[in-house]
């Protein structure tokens, strides 16, 4: 049995007395979209930051593809294949959109290392490039890089804004850029932090479609979101957190009707309905059309 893609055991993090995460444990298998939900202050973003290496845990361990990657710096996490997007977009403002993506391409995981898992973003040609491995010849890499950049820009719908300065983009486009940049770094595990917040229904639907495409191309996704409809529509499994602890885990339908989860979100009422139940969907095939 191959090891799970990600194995988190007893992860904890305190900040000056405040326990942001307490003994969180879970596993992610390859090739799914996992949702991570919870009320504000549950510790979701802290968890993502620790997984991405931007923050050190105060206790616990993280194993990725069988290797211990606990506490490494952020760029090492990227080399291993874990890349995150930021809740509030952080574009490189004076660089063009194209150059923003270039950073991901040039500094993300190397092609050769991307071998085992089919984590690439569905590139059709240039498999010869992959065979050449990781020799780092500047011209060759640059040529391939340009091709990849265009592909990624097209994927996230930013192709005609390629030359624009990233700082001039609308928030919606900046979020697309976040995803594009992260994709450019060739992750096996993509950590998405609220990529749909503040988007219109149509934009949300487009993003969800993109996430599905990414998953289909072989990248596993851990998706933090407040928009519960989006989560229920797209995720295979959902992890619920509250006050730094894991509260529940399971398929969306089960989690939706878990009384503990309902209590955490809404407070104990008459128990009617459930979390994100309005569309009645949640089997991962986009039932409610994101409306």
């Amino acid at each position: 049995m191959p090891p799970p893609l990600l194995e988190v055991v007893g992860l904890s993090r305190t900040f000056a007395g405040l326990a942001a995460l307490q003994e969180v444990s879970f596993q992610l298998e390859r090739g799914g979209i996992y949702g991570l939900i919870g009320p504000n202050g549950a510790g979701k973003t802290t968890l993502l930051a620790i997984l991405a290496g931007a923050l050190r845990p105060t206790a616990g361990s993280i194993r990725f593809e069988g290797r211990d990657v606990t506490g490494g710096p952020a760029f090492a996490a990227v080399r291993a294949g874990i890349v995150r997007t930021h809740q509030v977009p952080r574009p490189f403002r004076t660089l063009s959109v194209r150059d923003n993506v270039e950073v991901g391409i040039r500094f993300g995981r190397r092609r050769g290392a991307a071998g085992k898992a089919a984590s690439d973003t569905g590139k059709a040609a240039s498999d010869t490039g992959k065979a050449a491995g990781d020799t780092g010849k500047a011209a060759g890499d640059a040529g391939e890089a340009a091709g990849d950049t265009n592909r990624i820009l097209a994927r996230v719908g930013l192709a005609d804004l390629a030359a624009a300065a990233a700082g001039t983009l609308s928030v919606g486009n900046q979020k697309r850029l976040e995803v594009g940049r992260a994709l450019a770094a060739r992750p096996s595990l993509l950590l998405c932090d609220e990529v749909c917040s503040g988007l219109t229904a149509a934009e949300t639907e487009a993003v969800l479609r993109l996430l599905r495409e990414i998953r289909d191309a072989g990248t596993t996704i851990l998706y933090v979101e407040h928009d519960l409809k989006a989560i229920m529509a797209i995720c295979d499994r959902v992890i619920v957190m509250n006050l730094g602890r894991k509260l529940a885990e399971g398929p969306p339908a089960a989690v939706q009707s878990d009384p503990a989860v309902i209590a955490a979100y809404i407070g104990v009422k008459d128990g009617a309905g459930g979390v994100g139940a309005t569309t009645g969907g949640g089997d991962g095939s986009g039932g409610g059309a994101g409306a």
């Binding site: 900040f15 000056a16 942001a20 802290t46 930051a49 931007a54 923050l55």
Partner: protein
């Protein structure tokens, strides 16, 4: 070293620590409220020194009183400066390059003004007090250092009172912790920042006066003190006043006792080495510098 020598050095260090703390407090206030590192700090120390000097030379005013008078004078100067220049800086919760360069430019201007008005000869404030010495049994304490220490402690005490007993002080502490939350809570950030800046300059000017009683000075007076203030603040944790006191004590102790082994011209090296040690060995103690940790706090 005899016990008497040791005690004398210890006392000298303590007295020095007091002045160092008073000198660093101004920078801490400004940084805490506005996230601006006041590179012109040295310039204001220098102006404070000359201010007290002029009052003494021309008006015969006792330097201690002069230092007291420096407070309101520099408070007004600081507020005026904020109104004209500082408030035009881009606001951020991280120190910006623009603020750095602006205040550095200001330092150059102040230095030049110093040269224009007073020339580059060394000056000193010599009062009967300067050379007198207090003898307590085996202990020899230069009177002027004791007096300056008293002044420093008094000013720090006054600061504590202002910070903890006045509405303004509470606003300042709030802004130091979280600027945006303070705004939401109804604090007039612009006005509080202005007065806080003035207060920071006031303390710096007064500290300059105190230093003038201890050392000779010229218009480029202040650069070594800028470095020391910075070391103290870094050691102490950037936004904590108790930390400033602790940092000042450590630096003063090191400097005073190291004179036994190092030639005096190596003094700046101590401050700097302390800085590097603090950074390498105590990264936890200066969490504020690590934006990453601040972001998640």
């Amino acid at each position: 070293m005899s016990a008497a020598d040791f005690s004398n050095l210890l006392i000298a260090a303590l007295l020095l620590a007091g002045v160092y703390a008073a000198m660093s407090v101004g920078m801490t206030i400004i940084y805490g409220v506005m996230k601006i590192v006041n590179l012109a700090h040295a310039g204001f120390l220098m102006l404070g020194a000359y201010f007290v000097y002029e009052l003494y030379e021309r008006g015969g005013i006792d330097p201690l009183l002069g230092t007291l008078l420096a407070f309101p004078a520099f408070l007004l100067a600081g507020i005026g400066l904020h109104r004209t220049l500082i408030r035009r800086l881009p606001v951020s919760d991280q120190p910006t390059l623009a603020s750095l360069l602006l205040l550095f430019g200001l330092w150059l201007v102040l230095q030049n003004l110093g040269y224009l008005i007073w020339g580059n000869a060394d000056r000193a404030i010599l009062t009967p007090r300067t050379l007198s010495v207090l003898q307590l049994g085996p202990l020899t304490i230069p009177t002027v250092r004791l007096v300056v220490f008293a002044g420093a402690v008094a000013s720090l005490g006054a600061l504590e009172l202002v910070l903890h007993r006045t509405w303004f002080g509470r606003a300042v502490r709030a802004l130091m912790q979280n600027r945006d939350a303070g705004r939401l809570a109804g604090i007039d950030v612009e006005r509080t920042a202005r007065v806080a800046f003035g207060l920071g300059i006031a303390f710096t000017g007064a500290a300059g006066g105190m230093l003038a009683m201890l050392y000779s000075f010229s218009p480029d007076f202040g650069a070594p003190f800028l470095l020391r203030a910075f070391v103290i603040i870094v050691l102490g944790g950037l936004e904590s006043f108790a930390g400033v006191a602790a940092g000042a004590l450590i630096l003063a102790l090191l400097e005073t006792f190291s004179i036994q082994v190092l030639p005096a011209s190596y003094q700046p090296v101590i401050a700097f080495s302390l800085l590097v040690v603090a950074l390498v060995v105590l990264p936890g103690g200066i969490a504020g510098l690590w934006a990453r940790r601040r972001r998640w706090a």
